[in-house]
């Protein structure tokens, strides 16, 4: 009985300790969540105000009006810019996945000095920021006769994404068993067939990671569209949002800008919500092998 009582006291003490530890852990997690989510809530709350409302953004949800959204939608030419963003992002991501997997395949498989050199050649592209060499790139494009159209930023996105994507895929390629390919080879599959039907489907987790990281970057980027596109009809969403930024004489119209931010992020949110199951399954499929 005494022993049982002591055990009860021991469990009670332990429970108190675990509870305090768990409480502190939850507190830290909640603080981090608040730091991350608070700006998003402030943006959304401010976007629901009229453009004239200048009260502090920290006063959350004091007004519910779609006036800022209407103004942002009409001033931005939202449908055209949305189409431009979709074409640029989808086209660039598609090309990046195709080119990067095809480049990573021999780099991951062939064990020669040339393959190693090519690997480091691609990796070296990660060291130099593209903004630093934008002037020589523009000169080269001009000499090649490539006009400033909506495809010029796509060319830049594909080129600048290749180093990271090749790095990602070649690392993943090394984890793909060679035996599967060998069995396909024995069955008479050509190199292209082996790549397209055996290797490419096994790269699904890496492809999803590449699509998410590069797609997000391309969707949000305004540097290349702003440098290479002159016509307003070819602007993407981030470039269209810049008009609300204002200057020193005319300060930013924050409520309209926040509404434009929400409109810009909305397609990505919809895509993620629609495909989140596929994303998670794809990443999980790579985690469990065999």
């Amino acid at each position: 009985m005494a022993f049982g009582k002591k055990k009860d006291n021991y469990d009670a003490q332990n429970y108190m300790k675990m509870s305090l530890k768990t409480f502190l852990l939850y507190l830290v997690i909640i603080v981090f969540c608040v730091i991350v989510i608070a700006p998003l809530v402030i943006v959304f709350s401010s976007s629901l105000r009229t453009p004239e409302n200048q009260t502090t953004p920290l006063a959350l949800f004091i007004e519910f009006s779609m006036a800022s959204y209407q103004k942002a939608f009409s001033n931005m030419n939202y449908p055209m810019e949305l189409l431009n963003s979709i074409v640029t992002t989808a086209g660039s991501v598609f090309c990046i996945v195709i080119f990067a997997t095809m480049a990573a395949y021999p780099i991951g498989r062939i064990k020669t000095k040339l393959a190693r050199f090519l690997y480091f050649f691609f990796i070296s592209g990660l060291i130099i920021p593209s903004q630093m060499v934008i002037v020589p790139i523009a000169q080269t494009l001009n000499r090649l006769g490539i006009p400033n159209t909506r495809f010029t930023p796509m060319l830049m996105f594909i080129t600048c994404s290749l180093p990271f994507s090749v790095f990602l895929f070649s690392g993943f390629m090394k984890g793909v068993p060679v035996e599967i390919e060998e069995s396909a080879y024995i069955d008479g599959a050509t190199l292209g067939r082996r790549f397209s039907t055996v290797v490419f489907p096994l790269l699904q987790p890496a492809i999803i990671s590449c699509v998410i990281t590069q797609g997000l970057w391309i969707w949000n980027d305004y540097f290349y569209p702003m440098v290479f596109i002159s016509k307003k009809a070819q602007y993407s969403l981030p470039v269209g949002m810049l008009q609300f930024l204002g200057d020193k004489e005319n300060p930013a119209q924050w409520n309209i800008l926040f509404a434009a931010c929400v409109l810009c992020a909305l397609p990505l949110i919809i895509v993620f919500l629609a495909l989140q199951k596929q994303f998670v399954n794809g990443i999980a499929a790579g985690a469990v092998k065999g």
């Binding site: 903004q131 002037v135 494009l141 001009n142 702003m226 930024l245 020193k248």
Partner: protein
């Protein structure tokens, strides 16, 4: 016969659909780029007005300049960039991107005329960005605009004050701050740029 055709098409689609779609995509892209290249209008003038706070839009200025300069609307175009900001941008990223655009346009030799606030104008002229206008513009015009000339210490006339350019003033450009408009040193259309500057001055 219809059934045979259907079977053949089914076989073709089953075994060659990716090759077919790839060739079709490539052909469509060639068609798109070919048509774009053939119908592309020639840029006869490229103007960049940084920090100008114009009251009329870029498109309105392009239309006006195209019409007033007598260019062929069907085959020629004027490019005006008036939304870029260096000094007055409220965002550092926007200023950096505008600067990159400015440098790429100059570096690739596409820019003919540039306007910016006086401080930046003099700063960039230290690396010889702007031409001496006395070599391009007629002496009568320069004499008329004597009070609006921007001169360097060695006597070169590198730019004109927009307040002496009624067309720019009409578009609401550079109303408040001190600014300058000049011809870029590596433009391939010096005469055209000179004519345009004369037009801006009301000639």
């Amino acid at each position: 016969m219809m059934k045979k055709l259907k079977n053949e098409l089914g076989y073709f689609w089953l075994y060659y659909k990716w090759q077919f779609l790839t060739v079709l995509t490539v052909l469509l892209l060639f068609l798109y780029f070919g048509v774009s290249a053939l119908t592309e209008k020639k840029t006869v003038l490229s103007v960049m007005l940084l920090d100008c706070h114009a009251s009329c839009s870029q498109e309105e200025m392009e239309e006006r300049f195209l019409e007033d300069m007598g260019f062929d609307r069907k085959t020629e175009k004027v490019e005006v960039q008036s939304s870029l900001m260096l000094s007055d941008a409220s965002s550092g990223n926007y200023a950096m991107t505008s600067l990159s655009r400015f440098l790429t346009e100059i570096g690739s030799g596409k820019l003919d005329l540039c306007g910016m606030v006086l401080q930046d104008f003099e700063k960039y002229d230290k690396s010889g960005t702007f031409l001496d206008l006395s070599l391009i513009l007629p002496q009568e015009l320069l004499a008329r605009l004597e009070n609006y000339q921007i001169r360097t210490e060695d006597g070169r006339i590198i730019g004109l004050d927009p307040k002496g350019l009624p067309v720019l003033a009409d578009c609401g450009c550079y109303e408040e701050e001190a600014a300058a408009v000049g011809i870029v040193y590596n433009t391939t259309r010096k005469e055209k740029a000179g004519e345009f500057l004369a037009y801006l001055a009301g000639e």
